[in-house]
Symmetry: C2
Subunit: 443 residues, 2 copies
């Protein structure tokens, strides 16, 4: 399936119409999130890198044209104006890892109108999904309060592609590793994981399973101890570890039951066996809320493994995002629909200390003490810089989180800062709104 | 990224250990959903076709072995036992489109233990995700009560792959079309969609936009009428349609505001203009709950477009699924962990009229009047039948929905039938549980 086919049909019908009408002047579309989901005090910008890859390679091929014609039930000749179309425009965007707020453009595309329109579906998909998931992982790291967190989401994301994305985003958010081999390898993330219940069950006894695993994998091991009975499983693990002379670097994993209570019991059993260096890993339906409860209860859990609920951002699996035309051929435009009105013009976000942001026009001079968030990342359809390593995005996030007010970093009932609008943007929106209303009345 | 790399690391460490221990006898894993999410009275089995494609092509290559070694920090030679491993086993599964309930195996894999283990992550991912999403779309079709529903989910699914899956599943569920060009083309689904707000805004006036669209696309058109003011937009659409002599096959789309109220107003304006054949399409944050409210209010909406909330199954974005070892080398096994206990043995689901199901052992004779749900779909690593067209899955779903009790088809607060367990399965579970407890006590 080609990139150009991964589109909503209406992008194709609109682009064709623009070409036929000769409407190929520069257009700017702005991608932003209207409102944050409940229980989000901030968002983490993500998805830009795959978008730039996509724009760089975007090209409408002969096969694409034939497919467009086929699904529209038209002769291929009618779609010919689209053949060979590439993306030759500019992208200004917030780099991955930066904290963003409601209403702030994450990305602005300026390109000949048909191009900027055709790429909408893909861009919106990538940025919305990845920003939602990165934000969820970031909250887990905050909740863990210094304890390592690892990603086990592969088995329940929305397809294997989403699992790869989740693992990559988890690394930006500061997780310490992922179980996803493909992502660990390609993105340079530590790979983690050891055994499932099936492994224990495949042997006649739990002890036989633990001994076999150590035989096959010399070095530190992590034993899953809750297949039959957690306390009994921890005792068996302790016995095997002692008899094999193992300890440092080893761990037991708890995956069911009351993880807080069981962690205290496991710690006692391990300590009594002289295995104070053996760590405890907890997993099973964990998200930032559960992690925070365990951390606050001072449960002796050393590593938290999060999966399903975090990799799918289960409490907020989508963002209320939009990719809106804000300027065409130098003319600022806006939408007035109830509750979905947009602001016109090419924009910039000016960040001041404490994430007290101002959304203004791209042409404005930054207010004193502010830095602009959107950077030019693509011109003439080409990246302006090399892809940054994940660690760079991670550092951006750490710096921005340090600036966020405590109530925005809070796990339970956080409140997000609201960006203000600059005087010039407010005035422009008023003027354009007035012009549209005038046309509606006179029309 | 190869298929074999799309795995949790622990599948690799376990498989390697099984090979080293000579544990390559047949194992059966059973995939089922422990409990249905709230607001689900049934699930729609899905994801089997991509799983069969994956198993058919599964092969651990030299590159995979090197990647496994790299992420484990071991010499590649240690991973050599995995090289060339293919899937040579059997799959018994519930065909796509059939209704399934909590605890019922959707799929059972029987293969040499290392093979059956290695494919866990991918299989769980595909079946869990697709079953969740297919079930959500099916509820939309029920809510629409005969009105066509179409899929607009592409822009907010978890990556473009998930969008493709969503479109395919929407067709199984009975939706009438999708906006996703790639999926429409490849799966033979009608492609739908016309214009966005950006199209209207790119022109000086709404009327100029509507006229241009008709010029570019001869034949019936659908006008988006809420860019500035919905009633004014409908009036403009009516004026343009009349002046162009258009009507039959055309539509207006409402995408914001109180869709019920606006639909009545739009209908009045259109009817007054003699355009009673022009249809009304509604979109914007719709899911089965919103669709049902509009249908019950008898809003004059002809077509419902669902997207974000349905394509992501937003109120239940994952299922509590498991892929559990139930038999190894002829020995039934089970897990006893609190609240996550599993039942041992190779299973079958016997469906009786009214979806009063009994979960039994695969070797049992079907109870009178029942049909077995799991079919053998792969033997020796090869499909036993051609891939069925989507329409076949759709017909299975229709037949099963007709059998479901009304309270399970209900949109608000549905109740799901509970499958019973056969006497033989209950007895086997008791016996295995006793044996494990005995070993724990004596161990």
């Amino acid at each position: 399936m080609s990139d150009a086919m991964t589109t909503d049909l209406y992008e194709v019908t609109m682009a064709l119409s623009y070409l036929r009408e000769g409407m190929t002047r520069p257009a700017t579309f702005s991608l932003f999130v209207r409102d944050l989901p409940p229980d989000r005090g901030f968002l983490v910008a993500a998805g830009l890198e795959p978008v730039l890859d996509y724009l760089h390679r975007y090209r409408v091929t002969q096969q694409d044209v034939e497919v467009f014609a086929s699904v529209l039930g038209r002769p291929a000749g009618e779609l010919a104006p689209l053949l060979g179309l590439e993306f030759t425009g500019e992208v200004r965007a917030v780099p991955e890892g930066r904290v963003v707020l409601a209403g702030e453009p994450l990305l602005e595309v300026t390109a000949p109108l048909p191009q900027a329109q055709l790429v909408e579906s893909y861009i919106l998909n990538r940025v919305s999904h990845q920003t939602a998931v990165a934000s969820k992982y970031a909250r887990c790291v905050l909740a863990a309060d210094g304890h390592p967190v690892v990603d086990f989401a592969l088995r329940r994301t929305h397809g294997p592609g989403a699992a790869y994305d989740a693992a990559r985003l988890s690394a930006i958010a500061g997780l310490a590793g992922t179980s996803n081999v493909a992502a660990a390898h390609a993105e340079g993330i530590p790979a983690v994981g050891t055994m499932a219940h099936s492994y224990v069950e495949a042997f006649e006894t739990e002890e036989a399973a633990f001994r076999a695993f150590a035989r096959s994998h010399p070095g530190p091991v992590t034993y899953l101890v809750d297949t039959y009975d957690t306390r009994s499983g921890v005792a068996t693990a302790a016995r095997v570890l002692r008899s094999l002379g193992l300890g440092p670097g080893c761990a037991v994993r708890l995956d069911s039951g009351d993880l807080g209570v069981l962690a205290f019991q496991a710690r006692s059993i391990l300590d009594a066996a002289g295995l104070s260096e053996v760590r405890i890993v907890a997993s099973g339906s964990l998200d930032e809320f559960a992690v925070q409860r365990l951390v606050r209860a001072k449960a002796p859990i050393d590593v938290y493994a999060v999966g399903t609920r975090v990799g799918t951002s289960a409490d907020a699996p989508y963002l209320d995002s939009a990719y809106k035309l804000v300027e065409y051929d130098g003319r600022p435009v806006m939408k007035l629909s109830s509750a979905k009105a947009t602001a016109p013009g090419r924009k910039q976000v000016f960040r001041r200390p404490g994430c007290t942001d101002v959304i203004g026009l791209a042409v404005e001079r930054p207010p004193a003490g502010s830095v602009p968030l959107l950077k030019t990342v693509m011109t003439d359809g080409r990246r302006t810089a090399e892809r940054a390593p994940l660690g760079t995005a991670r550092q951006r996030l750490l710096a921005d989180l340090a600036e966020l007010p405590p109530e925005s970093r809070r796990i339970e009932a956080p409140t997000a800062p609201r960006a203000g609008l600059s005087a010039r943007l407010t005035a422009l929106a008023e003027r354009v709104r007035g012009q549209i209303r005038q046309r509606l009345v006179s029309g």
